[in-house]
Amino acid sequence: MSDLAPDPVSCMDADFEHNTKANAARRRFLQRIGVMGVSALTASSLPMNVSRGGSLLAADIGSSAASDEPVSGVSSERRWGLLIDTSKCSAGCDACVRGCHEEHGIGVSGNDHTDAQWIRKIDLEDNDSGETMSLPVMCQHCETAPCVDVCPTGASFKRADGVVLVNKHTCIGCRYCMLACPYKARSYIHEPVTDQLSRAPRGKGTVESCTLCVHRIDDGQNLQPACAVACRKDAHSAIVFGDLNNPDSEISKSIREHDAKQVRADLQLNTAVRYTGL
C-alpha cells in the first residue's frame, strides 16, 4: 500500500494557482503532446537501436498510456510534484538514489562528474545556526522551465501535468539545457549505454533527467516514483508524491502545514518539488 498515491481530486490550490496564461500554455503543451503521441506511435513501429541510442523516446512512455487510462491520463488538471521532508531525510542514506538507478537501469561507473545524476543527495549546514540537514535534489519540474525555453529543437518539453521530459528522438545533444538548468539536474550521456530497460530508454549523446517516474504515473495503478518508494521502504518516508493541484492531497496539505519552500525560489520557476525544513 505504500506504493499508492493519494487519491487525486481536481481542485485548485491557492499556492499553485494557475492563471489563464498558464492554462493557455498548458493547452499548447497538450496539443504538442498530441503531436508527440503520433510521433511516438510512428516511432514505436520503428526498430529500436537501444545500444546506439537510436530511437529512444521518453515521451512515448507517458503519452501511450495516457490515452486509455482516464485516471492517470495526462491532464492539466493535475500537477505532479514531490515534497521532501528534510527532518526525515537522513545523512548518509542514499536509498532514493539507489531506487532511482535500479528503476531506470542507470549504471555507476565511478566518475561522479560524468555519471548520470538524476537524483543526488546533498548534506548541508546552515551558516548562521549551524544546523545540519540532508536532502535529495532532482529535476524540480519547474513550471517555467528554463531547459524547455532554451532547447532549440523542442526536445525538452513539459507535459500538461507539469512533468518535464526530454524527447530522446529530437534531442541533438547540444547541452544548452544543461547550462540553463539552475539546479544542475540534467545529465548528458557521455558513453555508450548497455543493458537498458524498455521503460527508461537512454542513448549516448543525449541529455536526460528525472522523469518523475512518468512510466509509473501513467501506469494507471497509482504508483509512486521509485525514490519515494525506496525512501519509504527504508523507513524514512521523507518523500511524498502527489497532485499539487488537489488541495486535499497529502502533499498539498503538508506543503501548507509545514510552509514548504522551493529551492532558489528567487528564480521564480515555480518548482514542483518542495522542501520542508529548508
Binding site: H113, V150, G154, G173, I189
Partner: protein
C-alpha cells in the same frame, strides 16, 4: 569604384604556401579523426562533464563565428560606409568571413552529442530559444555572404552592393549580439547581463575580425612578395586601436557590474574560478588588451612596423579566444549556488565544488581542425575565383 580594381585568382608558387596547405590538410584530418573518436566513444574521452557541458570546441566554434562576423567589417566599411581604403580587401573580407563561419559551424556540429541529427535542428524549432534564432542567423549570414560576393563580382549588380552590404552589417550585429545572448540569457542573469554580454560579443568580434583580416592580408602579400599598402596598414591599425579600446572599456564595465551583483548564479569575468580560467584572465588582460593597445598606439605615431602589426594582431586574436574561454568555461566552472546561506558538507555531484575543467587532446583536435578547415576553404576559394586585388607596389589610393 570596384571596377577600377583588378582582381585575380591567387596562385602563388612559394614553398611556404604549400607548407601551409599541407599543414591545414593534416590538421583537418586529425580534427576529423578526433571528431570521429568523440562520436564513437562519446564525450567521455573529452574533459567535459556534467558540470562543464560546453568545453573547448565551443570556444573555437563561437570564436570562429564571431571572428567571421568581425572579418566582414572590412567589406561593409567599404560598401556601406564608403571607406575607399578597404575596397581592395572587400572581396577577401567576404570570402574569409564565409570560410571562418563555415569552420565555426562545423566545429559546433561536430561537438553535438548527435551530429547525425543536424537536420532536426532545421525541421524542429523552438522559436522561444535564442539557440534556434542563432541557427538561422548563422546560415543566413552564410547566404548573405554568397550573394554579397556574387554582387561584387558581377558588374551588373555592383550598384546593389551597398544594399546587400547594409544587410550584412545589420545581420552580423544581430548575429554577434545573439551569440552573446546565448550566455547572457541564462536563468539568474539579469537584463543588464544580457545586454552587456551581447555588446561585449559585438566588440570582441570586431577585434578578432580585424586581427584576422590584418594577418591574412599580410600573409597573402608576403606570398606575392609585395608590401602591404601603407594606407591600408594605417587604416587597419586605427581600427584595431579603436576596437581594442572599446573592448577594454567593456571588459572593465562588465566585470564591475558583475562584481556588484555578486549574488548571481554565475561568475563575474576574471573571478578566480580555478584552473586555466584564472591564468587566462591575467593573460587576456596583458596580451589580449594592454600589449596590443600599446603596439597600436605606437604604430599610430610611427607607422610602418609590419612585424609589430603582426604581433599585435596575433595577440589580439589569442586574447580574444582567451576571453571567450573565460566567458564560456568560467561561467560553468564553478558550482551553482542552490542553497544560499548554507554550506555544502557532502555531495556526490560536486555541489560544493568540483575539479576544474581541463580540455582533452580530442577537443583541441576538433577545435584546431575547424580553424584549419576555415583557412583551407579560404585558400581554395581565392585560388579558384578572382578575389584578391592584383598586387601593385603603389599606394591603395591608386588601386581604387
Amino acid at each position: 569604384m570596384n571596377s577600377t580594381v583588378r582582381y585575380i585568382a591567387f596562385k602563388p608558387r612559394n614553398v611556404s604556401y604549400y607548407c601551409v596547405i599541407l599543414l591545414c590538410l593534416l590538421t583537418m584530418i586529425s580534427g576529423g579523426y578526433c571528431a570521429y573518436m568523440m562520436e564513437v566513444s562519446g564525450h567521455i574521452i573529452t574533459g567535459m562533464n556534467n558540470h562543464v557541458a560546453w568545453g573547448l570546441p565551443h570556444v573555437f566554434a563561437v570564436g570562429l563565428i564571431v571572428t567571421a562576423s568581425g572579418v566582414l567589417n572590412g567589406a561593409t566599411c567599404a560598401s556601406v560606409l564608403g571607406m575607399e581604403v578597404y575596397k581592395p580587401v572587400a572581396r577577401l573580407s567576404v570570402v574569409l568571413a564565409s570560410s571562418t563561419l563555415l569552420g565555426g559551424l562545423t566545429v559546433l556540429v561536430l561537438d553535438l552529442g548527435r551530429p547525425d541529427r543536424l537536420l532536426l535542428a532545421f525541421t524542429h524549432h523552438n522559436f522561444g530559444s535564442i539557440f534556434t534564432w542563432n541557427i538561422f542567423l548563422y546560415t543566413g549570414l552564410l547566404l548573405i555572404c554568397v550573394v554579397y560576393l556574387w554582387m561584387m563580382m558581377e558588374k551588373r549588380f555592383n550598384r546593389q552592393v551597398t544594399t546587400i552590404g547594409l544587410a550584412a552589417l545589420v545581420w552580423r550585429i544581430v548575429l554577434t549580439s545573439g551569440t552573446g545572448a546565448i550566455f547572457g540569457l541564462l536563468t539568474g542573469k539579469n537584463i543588464i547581463d544580457t545586454a552587456l554580454m551581447a555588446m561585449l560579443f559585438v566588440v570582441l568580434s570586431l577585434v578578432l575580425g580585424t586581427a584576422a583580416l590584418v594577418l591574412v592580408t599580410i600573409l597573402l602579400k608576403h606570398w606575392q612578395s609585395t608590401q602591404v599598402d601603407d594606407e591600408l596598414q594605417k587604416a587597419f591599425n586605427r581600427m584595431q586601436l579603436l576596437f581594442l579600446l572599446v573592448l577594454g572599456i567593456f571588459s572593465i564595465v562588465y566585470h564591475l557590474i558583475n562584481v556588484y551583483a555578486r549574488q548571481d548564479l554565475y561568475v563575474p569575468l576574471f573571478t578566480l574560478t580555478g584552473g586555466l580560467t584564472t591564468m587566462f584572465s591575467v593573460v587576456y588582460v596583458l596580451t589580449g588588451l594592454l600589449v596590443p593597445l600599446g603596439i597600436t598606439l605606437y604604430l599610430l605615431k610611427k607607422p610602418g612596423g609590419i612585424y609589430k602589426q603582426i604581433a599585435s594582431s596575433i595577440m589580439s586574436l589569442t586574447g580574444g579566444f582567451l576571453l571567450l574561454y573565460i566567458v564560456i568555461i568560467g561561467s560553468q566552472n564553478q558550482a551553482k549556488i542552490l542553497f544560499p546561506g548554507k554550506t555544502v558538507l557532502a555531495s556526490r555531484f560536486g555541489d560544493g565544488g568540483f575539479p576544474a575543467y581541463v580540455p582533452s587532446v580530442w577537443e583541441w583536435g576538433v577545435g584546431l581542425g575547424g580553424v584549419a578547415f576555415s583557412f583551407f576553404i579560404f585558400l581554395l576559394l581565392i585560388r579558384v575565383f578572382a578575389l584578391i586585388p592584383e598586387s601593385q607596389p603603389s599606394t591603395v589610393s591608386k588601386l581604387i
